[in-house]
Symmetry: none
Subunit: 216 residues, 4 copies
Amino acid sequence: MKNSNILVEKPKRRTESKEVRRRQLIDATIASIAELGMSNTTLGSVAKRAGVAHGTVNLHFPSKENLLEETLRFLAEQHYRLWLEGIKNAPNDANARLAAIVEVDFKLEIVSPQKLAVWFSFWAHANYRPLYLEICSQFDGERGGEIERLCSQINEEGGYLLAKPSAIAQRFEALIDGLWLSMLLYPETVTRQSARVDAFEYLSEVFPQHFPLQPL
Amino acid sequence: MKNSNILVEKPKRRTESKEVRRRQLIDATIASIAELGMSNTTLGSVAKRAGVAHGTVNLHFPSKENLLEETLRFLAEQHYRLWLEGIKNAPNDANARLAAIVEVDFKLEIVSPQKLAVWFSFWAHANYRPLYLEICSQFDGERGGEIERLCSQINEEGGYLLAKPSAIAQRFEALIDGLWLSMLLYPETVTRQSARVDAFEYLSEVFPQHFPLQPL
Amino acid sequence: MKNSNILVEKPKRRTESKEVRRRQLIDATIASIAELGMSNTTLGSVAKRAGVAHGTVNLHFPSKENLLEETLRFLAEQHYRLWLEGIKNAPNDANARLAAIVEVDFKLEIVSPQKLAVWFSFWAHANYRPLYLEICSQFDGERGGEIERLCSQINEEGGYLLAKPSAIAQRFEALIDGLWLSMLLYPETVTRQSARVDAFEYLSEVFPQHFPLQPL
Amino acid sequence: MKNSNILVEKPKRRTESKEVRRRQLIDATIASIAELGMSNTTLGSVAKRAGVAHGTVNLHFPSKENLLEETLRFLAEQHYRLWLEGIKNAPNDANARLAAIVEVDFKLEIVSPQKLAVWFSFWAHANYRPLYLEICSQFDGERGGEIERLCSQINEEGGYLLAKPSAIAQRFEALIDGLWLSMLLYPETVTRQSARVDAFEYLSEVFPQHFPLQPL
DNA sequence: CATGAATGAGTCTTCATTCAT
DNA sequence: AATGAATGAAGACTCATTCAT
């Protein structure tokens, strides 16, 4: 009935606008969490930033909790999407792919000050909101696996004789997380650029041939 | 100014029991934040865990905000105290001192699951609670400076020819933070022991002579 | 004034479908009140049961209050209509007419579980929604008058020597209401049939010659 | 500790005052339901009538639903208490006891206009709030059993030859409920006194020797 | 010192009503 | 006529803080 006429665009437009509104609200949520913190983020603060009325948030998200979940999911999916794109477009050698991963991890869309704040807010709640962890973990696993694979390959190629590429990979991931934290806490001294360089320098330390030190 | 030395506690109260009660409430706060998250931590949840009545919390801390600050201060102080002790007791060579610092950073008293959760909760709020940052930053600065100094010295001693010991130092700190996050999020796979080893392996990578790889 | 004859519906609308839709919504209202209670009945719950969109209810009824009024009016009218029909079709003797009234009062269309629930919901609000009472009272008065007249006549015919037929009539009406309540509260033990028998037994008690006890 | 000194009255006073407050809030709930109806009764309307602040209601009752339940329980218990007292103080013959039951059922404490409104509000919700029914049913069952027993006894004593005393009893209970409804809907014409007389007249009709008609 | 009753501001959520499509 | 997105007022409930005991 409603969609019997395939040429009718209305239903689609409605749906679209609904998606737009959801996205708008998620953006507002990110802004609010970044600005006020998760504890001080209220449906009011979100609605205000989205420029809509109070009740509109609950119209699109059944509950505040659901809004937060969807916000995290959005961040996770965005990271995943850019990550896929990054490794797809990278040359097919291991170090180029690893580099591509790093580049994504320090793209503005991923680690804007706002989004950093949101990521850490969610992580701070991971213990008692298992769903938060779940939302991230699929991608995290996939990414971790890929990094490990790449490290293994590079290790072999270079004959670096390092015992456990898996340890290097894990350490590398931890390093990036730590750099993210530094960027969050000390944005004046640790910038996106400096952190990115830092990450690459780590790769230079462990895989000197594949990642020759950039002369600054 | 007001907080010229943020980590130094107010002069000792008259009654000892008052101090005891304060400590009890801070412990309860840590437990509550770890268990319920910061957003769900209420004076009620703290009082319950401390086994005292509702109003007692406000008797010892003028406000909830102050309780949180004092809790963070307690954690920061504890870390500072153990850190001081660690480097005081360490042999006087640079790598021993650096190792001592790592040991402290993975002591149970510092990175128990509870305390990890609390640390990240505070960091997640650092952006809009500048005081939180302030409380940490004095110690963080001192520790960072020391690490940098030690790295420089080791670098010189070993003739590692790495361009910037300061970068190594920063990267090292970031790595530790990242390991903390891994311990928080994936306590099953990243334990205190494994994370500690990871940190030392990093030192082995950059200062192989000073930190020879431990054969497992 | 405005409601000089409260039970008479507004003049027929232009479109037939409008009337149909109104009836559909009233049925949905009855279903919703029966299922969820009056407090939990929302325009949403009504729309859902009617299978229409949210805003459609307000298209046909200016307000929720008006919808409720019209629903009550519908019930009252329906009772009135069946009552008129019942006494019209009854033989012309008093006891047959009284019996006819009882039969109507226990017809499924009048005392279905759903409708019972709705009746009592409205009565529970009669105190502060005078209009509800008004809607019922015209019919109630007429019916009460008729019952009293019939009782008087029967009383005279039978020479029962009961002081006040008016009291008998009132008592009889109260009994029926009470039986309705029993049917509402204990549908398992008090059924339409058993309640009907009960009502007739009462008539047997007071007018034994006119209503001889039915041997079961 | 707290109660070590048996002479200390404080703890008791506290408890007492808590009970007093609860009662106060239940009274306010009854007043509000009677005045505004159940749907329009809010925690605010209750708090206002009790002369306390908004949050105080939730301090003593975990939820609005619980407040309503406790209110119903209070009414049911009050009825039960007066009923027990009534039959305890009555002479030991069946008709006196039956009369006592009627007297209780029309006592002002039981059928004040306010309380009538509340009773019917609860009954109107009985279908989807099974707990409401549960709260009433224990007493209702006990009372019903007693009435039936008394009717049986009276029937035997009088040799009334009425087939089923149980039916008479049920009818009697229904009649009282119906009279309550009349009192609720038409307080001007059906008063406590008139309804009480009505009930007794019914008994005169079925048990003429035991309940001779009162000459008015 | 400690208690816990009371307060009332703040938050989430629901929902009647409006209105653009 | 019908839809359903948007609104915002109102309600239930929470909780930091106060204060009498």
